[in-house]
């Protein structure tokens, strides 16, 4: 009995397995390659435009391909994957077949790839030329084998034996059944341009297609290459407009072999667009444009977009946004803050004035800031254009500039501390036009001053935005700098144009004089710092000369204070002002003389800490090749953020210990003075200023960029991410999780 009970169970299981297999089989054979159907998901047939053919008279046949929904086949250039359809003819003696006349393809995106092909129903036309000696009344059979790839998500090869039999007559007669289909197929063939001139140029390893004509679309133009090795199928094709001309930037294919002599392919407009033609509009232009030398126009904006950025507008808008925020942040920088505080004091003092006047002051301050940014940017771009290797903060690499800045700060400090007053402010007490005018120019000049003193403080966002700016066209770069300036001035414009806000500022009073005198000290501190930077760039003699210049400036200030413009007249005024002018001139001369004394013996390119090697591209590459992790500190004496990071993070014992544990090779790239090698290294990271912290893992993978504001934790975390390069050390190896 027991045995009888045992047998049904396996049988049920066996049936279940069979059922399962049966259910799976059709599904499986549909996704794998079905060997029985030579043309899965598609059918092909050979059709002829004519019923009868005449001797020697060419006629047209077509491979008619019908594809299932969701499946597609490929154009003559399949794109990144796939394969062109083909016909291998087997024609009677004396017959010859032309090339396939391809309808224009559509663009298909397959994941990260782009292919060109067709779905639905297509006709691949071929011209056949029969021999002259055909006899009327006979029949001829045209045969061939069609091969195509039919793809959905997966691809299946397909083929069909093509055959059609036609009779020979004195005259060819069309086949009414296929007339329309052939006409429609021809309407899909790309046609040579009419009314549009197409020129092709090389452009820095890539290409530019120039289209000129009426009613060209502003965007959505797409060039589809007829050959594989010309342009990248996936790269965006940004369009630049210039009147009736459109420039299409085409990125060269990574498989281009440099032998491209012309751009051949098809030009499509945006969806539903047709190119104007004399008879009727046409969806696709045939392009065959020989490459005519290097493109000479300004395409910097286009090529930027064409080299991988997914959208020009996004990156430009993004950069503009960051520039604006960066500008806002500049107000918080230690070197800007005193100047800004002055401005706020000024606002407090004037808060009783009419809103209209306040707005004008705010606007002029903003103008001062923006104009200064333009001047700096213009200078930067002009020097770039002249081939100079410079970056943001370049002016601080000049000792002369540093010296003049230091003098300026000392001067402002002396003025604030009350040693002297600048004339115009006290000359008239009444609300005369003159006073207003001088007040206005002061607002403007405060803007200028704020900008000049802000430049050393490359705020982190500003560094990135400027890095982008310098790779862009001049117009775009200027927009970035404008955004920076607007960002910096924004708080004051807002403050000055909203009376409610102004009213919340403290009331003017004697406290303002105290505050003003107090603000002299940040000014002197800034001057001190500049002297320190100056000392990195020149010798101790230079520093002494600069301090001498300060002394003379103090003297000039005293003279101005002792004989103020209000109280002296005639010869005294003349004499005192002559002395001031001479002494100031002497101060300037001393400062510049000091700047010319040249670098100190221990040039700042020599790092002071023993653990740090000075920067050389060659050496860094060599160390990286050895598989050693490398940390590069791009810094400069005049970069405050850099100095802070150095003190609070890089020089701390814990961080030094962590570097040591990981065997990291430390490199300091000191950009205090001009150094083309470092400028180039910075530009590799799309930066134009310091600080920049780069950590190369030892395994040859991409470098890690650390934030511009460092904490020991950030550095330690980055170091912990390093692949363990000391596998030979069992102690370390066992510590790994």
């Amino acid at each position: 009995m027991k045995q009888n009970h045992v047998s049904p169970l396996p049988r049920t299981v066996g049936f279940g397995v069979l059922l399962l297999l049966w259910m799976l089989t059709p599904w499986a054979s549909a996704t794998a390659q079905p060997s029985d159907d030579p043309s899965p998901h598609s059918e092909a047939a050979l059709v002829s435009e004519v019923e009868t053919i005449a001797p020697g008279e060419p006629f047209t046949v077509a491979m008619h391909l019908q594809m299932d929904d969701g499946w597609h086949s490929y154009w003559k250039n399949a794109g990144d994957s796939g394969m062109a359809s083909s016909i291998d003819w087997n024609l009677p003696e004396g017959f010859s077949a032309g090339e396939i006349q391809w309808p224009h393809p559509t663009v298909k995106e397959e994941g990260p790839l782009v292919t060109y092909g067709y779905s639905g129903e297509i006709m691949l036309l071929v011209d056949i030329t029969p021999p002259d000696d055909l006899e009327s009344g006979t029949e001829v059979t045209l045969a061939g084998r069609g091969d195509w790839l039919i793809c959905e998500d997966i691809c299946l090869p397909a083929h069909a034996d093509l055959e059609t039999t036609l009779s020979v007559d004195a005259d060819a007669t069309p086949d009414a059944e296929w007339d329309d289909a052939f006409a429609q197929a021809r309407a899909q063939h790309p046609r040579p341009a009419e009314g549009v001139s197409v020129q092709a140029y090389r452009s820095d390893g890539s290409f530019v297609l120039e289209l000129e004509g009426d009613d060209l679309p502003d965007e959505g133009v797409r060039f589809i290459p007829g050959e594989k090795r010309t342009i990248s199928n996936t790269a965006p094709q940004p369009v630049m407009r210039d009147g009736d001309t459109r420039y299409l930037a085409l990125q060269a294919s990574e498989y281009a072999d440099g032998s491209t002599e012309s751009l051949r392919g098809v030009l499509l407009g945006p969806d539903g667009f047709s190119w104007s033609m004399s008879d009727r509009p046409h969806p696709a232009l045939a392009v065959d444009a020989p490459l005519e030398g290097e493109f000479t126009g300004d395409l910097s904006a286009l090529s930027e977009a064409g080299t991988g950025a997914s959208s020009t507008s996004l990156s430009l808008w993004g950069a503009l946004g960051f520039a604006f925020i960066g500008g806002l942040l500049l107000n918080l920088m230690p070197c800007v803050f005193p100047v800004i505080s002055l401005k706020i004091l000024g606002f407090a003092k004037k808060s009783g004035e009419q809103p209209r006047i306040m707005r004008r002051h705010g606007g002029l301050f903003a103008a001062g800031v923006v104009v200064s940014f333009w001047v700096l940017a213009g200078l930067l771009l002009a020097l770039r254009a002249a081939g100079e290797q410079i970056g943001w903060g370049f002016q601080l690499q000049s000792p002369g500039f540093i010296a003049l800045m230091a003098l300026l700060f000392v001067g402002i400090g002396l003025n604030l501390s009350g040693l002297f007053e600048l004339g115009t402010r006290l000359t008239s007490v009444g609300g005369t036009a003159q006073q207003k005018a001088s007040g206005y120019s002061e607002s403007f000049l405060t803007g200028v001053l704020a900008t000049i003193v802000a430049t050393p403080c490359t705020a982190p966002l500003m560094g990135a935005a400027l890095g982008v700016a310098l790779t862009m066209s001049a117009v775009e770069a200027m927009s970035i700098f404008t955004a920076l300036g607007v960002g910096m001035a924004a708080p004051y414009v807002v403050l000055s144009s909203v009376p409610a806000l102004l009213n919340r500022l403290p009331k003017p009073g004697p406290w303002m004089e105290t505050m003003k005198q107090l603000l002299a000290f940040p000014m002197f501190a800034t001057a001190l710092w500049l002297v320190w930077v100056f000392g990195q760039q020149v010798s101790i003699d230079g520093v002494a000369l600069l301090l001498g210049a300060f002394l003379l400036l103090g003297l000039a200030g005293w003279v101005l204070g002792r004989w103020p413009a209000m109280q002296v007249e005639g010869r005294t005024w003349m004499a005192s002002r002559a002395v001031v002018t001479t002494v100031v001139a002497g101060a300037l001369a001393l400062a510049l003389l000091g700047a010319g004394t040249g670098a100190p013996a221990s040039a700042s390119t020599q790092p002071t800490d023993a653990n740090w090697q000075s920067f050389s591209t060659e050496q860094v590459d060599a160390v990286r090749d050895e598989g050693t992790p490398v940390f590069i500190d791009f810094t400069a004496a005049w970069c405050l953020t850099c100095q802070v990071n150095k003190r609070t993070t890089l020089s701390t014992e814990s961080v030094q210990q962590a570097f040591d544990d990981k065997g990291v090779h430390l490199v300091r790239a000191d950009w205090t003075n001009r150094n083309d090698e470092i400028t180039q290294a910075l530009s590799k990271f799309n930066r134009s200023g310091v600080p920049l912290y780069v950590l190369y893992p030892g395994d040859g993978s991409d470098p890690v960029l650390l934030p511009e504001v460092l904490t020991p934790q950030i550095v330690m975390d980055a170091l912990n991410e390093l692949p363990d390069t000391r596998n030979d050390n069992p102690e370390l190896a066992s510590e790994r999780p």
Binding site: L113, L149, D153, C155, E254, Y255, L332, V709
Partner: protein, 209 residues
């Protein structure tokens, strides 16, 4: 005072955000005559392999999808196993990489992949699983097959199609110039690789998403 603290905090937040935003940099596909980027992947037997493990040896990377007819052309005909065997005897490391995402064509669990490989006669050193497509995208692999040849110094010396005739037709194999063979033979004889790149052809790599 409180207000300025808030302002400072906000500023720091913006700095951090902005800094992060700028750190996402596009990675370019590797170029020939430049170092081939390192990667680590697990093979069908559960062993990890890194490209850097094979320093000092020639390495061939072959993007693989057994159900792709272009791949079928080379395995069905026995050509791919023959090449793998021949060059492995010469000390070349041959790695087949499968970047098909789970659920797409060409992806199999490791055991099934091994069984399939045995059936196809594969003679490679290892089949590496790249289901997230990370390495495929790092190398810019577009098609199956898509071939990369790396010299003992770790420099990419060839990338592109396996040969010069894009088709699924087995008969074309003998007619075509095999660029991998050409590159390996030239480099091993100390000669310049005649064709450093050629357009890849085949099925699209079935990346995730």
């Amino acid at each position: 005072m409180t207000r300025s603290l808030w302002t400072t905090a906000l500023a720091l937040l913006l700095i951090a955000g902005g800094t992060l935003a700028f750190h996402a940099e596009p990675v370019d596909d590797p170029e020939v005559d430049a170092p081939a980027p390192d990667f680590t992947l697990t093979d069908t037997n559960g062993n990890e392999h890194s490209l850097s493990d094979f320093e000092g040896e020639y390495v061939v990377l072959e993007w693989l999808n057994f159900d792709c007819p272009f791949v079928g052309k080379f395995y069905g005909s026995g050509e791919m196993p023959r090449l793998q065997e021949t060059y492995r005897e010469d000390g070349v490391v041959w790695l087949s990489i499968v970047s098909s995402a789970p659920g797409t064509q060409g992806h199999f669990p490791p055991d099934e992949m091994n069984a399939r490989n045995e059936q196809e006669g594969g003679q490679q050193d290892a089949i590496l699983m790249d289901p997230e497509g990370t390495v495929g995208q790092m190398y810019g692999a577009q098609t199956t097959p898509h071939m990369y040849v790396i010299n003992p110094e770790g420099t990419l010396i060839y990338k592109g199609g396996i040969d010069s005739i894009p088709s699924t037709n087995v008969d074309d194999i003998d007619e075509a110039t095999n660029y991998v063979v050409e590159a390996l033979d030239a480099a091993m004889n100390g000669e310049e690789v005649p064709t450093k790149t050629a357009p890849p052809y085949g099925c699209s790599v079935k990346y995730a998403g």
